[in-house]
Amino acid sequence: MEINKKILVIDDEVHVRRVIEIKLKNKGYEVVTAANGLEGLEIIKAQKPDAVITDINMPGMDGEALCRLTDVLKIERPFLTIVMTARISPEERNWISKLKDTQFMEKPFSPSKLLDAINKYFGVE
């Protein structure tokens, strides 16, 4: 079955992108991927995904910069952002808590938990 939601996955590690992509595609989501924040930002502007899953530590534009930049876009068009990070620090928790529709998930992450979080946001069983 198809779910009419587009999810953008941003991570500099290809196997992470691949695992998330397949997990979401098998559920029926449409998935696009990017390898860093800058690529991701362009896709967000051009393709308007319904959810963004992003790593924090990436070469070029990192996840924090991306989240801060896209937070403004959410005023007009809300979408979910899931930030993935190893060992969340209090500072990270702090800036994440201040952004709209933004959750975090600790790495190493559980693909099934990630899918649950996405399903929950879209009300998918």
Partner: protein
Amino acid sequence: MMLDLDLFKPLLNNISLLTNLQLDICRQGEIVYSSNSASRSRDLTERIRRLSLPKVAPDALEKDEKQEHDDLFAVPLKIQKKPAGFLVASSPQEQSMTPRLAAGSGSARFSDLAKSALTNLAAIIEESWAAQKESEEMTEQLTQHFEALHLYARITPQITTLKFSKKMFNELIEEFLHSMRVEMVFSRLPQKPDLDVLLIQQARSSYIPDPTAFIDKLIKAIPAEAASIKEHYFIVNDSYNEPAYRALHKLPFRFLAVTIEHNEQFYGWLGLVSFNLAEIFHRSDLRLMISIAEQISVVIRNMELYDELNQFVIDVVKSLIYAIEAKDVYTRGHSERVSHFSMLMAEKMNLSREEKENLRWASILHDIGKIGIPEEILNKTGRLVKDEYNIIRMHPQKGFSILKPLQPMLKALPGILYHHEHFDGRGYPEQLKGKEIPLIARIIAVADTYDAINSDRAYRLGRPPQETLEIIQGLAGTQLDAEIVKIFADVLQTDCAGTGRHAYS
């Protein structure tokens, strides 16, 4: 599994145009690609569709062989040697065929060249599907590794902690339920029932009305002689094939259990149950289970070591108590009685776990400082002279100094140092007053005073319990905290052994 055809569609379209043949690909009874579906008769469509259905009718086509009929040429598509569909060429409109490619001579309607091209194309599609399938399988494995890594990351920090709380354990098992894609996860540790956990997927809870009894039966049915037990696991992938398990549930289920053990020391089982027999337990599931069970066993072992260490401290403390009791015959059993009464009061007062722990140590050790007092003074039968009395009065500070180096005793020390302070500020050593005196010291003071009056001493006989209680009540508000005396009176009434020292001697 979704097999992608997008890559081949332009090529298939081209070949269809070139040969003037209608091309279709069918899979599991569905036509997943058609070069031009409008130009085909309904009957033919149905036949193509049925090609890829499992064989039911006697006249059904052979699945894995090329088919050639008047109006239809079909090449099987296989993935990993298993039938996965057909590439079908059909020519419903004989007259429009291009002679060069399509029409053969005689009865054959499909030229050898066309057949060869289709066969080669089918091979390329198979190759591509096989690669896709392999890639998906690898991704699936990778996904499982991610789940495993996530679980490891969750459990590893627990190993460094000495206490594995029920809550943490529960969370861990819940993650397990999640990432193993089963309906039930349990841990069964006969020696540590507080770590027994049982989680069932909400949607499946009706399958097992009495899960605890079900698990009991599952474990009981594990054959001790099974070869896998030496490898610390036991698997049933279909309960219908195992007589011992078949009887346990009307539905077939699969069951995997691994032992939680450390250096031959058996603690219990970690197990999974699922009613979804479309899946089986894989080697990778087993590996993950075994290593999680190993980690859990290390945590449990750590907890045991911690408890042993704690027990060692308790034993050391007991030795210290025997040391004072050896010096002072009249205080034999006194420390334990004071501790007993103190803990009863703590219970009644609903003190926190930590406060109770501190009180337990302080009450049992309150007189430890008497080790430093000469025996002649402790056991003197006559009245003490002022100097002797001053020496006796030093035992709280002496006790404090003796125990100060013992880290676990740190929070118990105020109870020892101040158990001779009086509520009205006329006690010793610091003449603290009222609530300035730590709570545990005020509690010990009541229990201590009661037992001292109730017991025989070198210079007098003990008073009976009722009389002792009256004396204590007379001291409420001056020497003792009136609120605590009241609690003590209640406790003494309800304590089944409350008739005084005789119960403890």
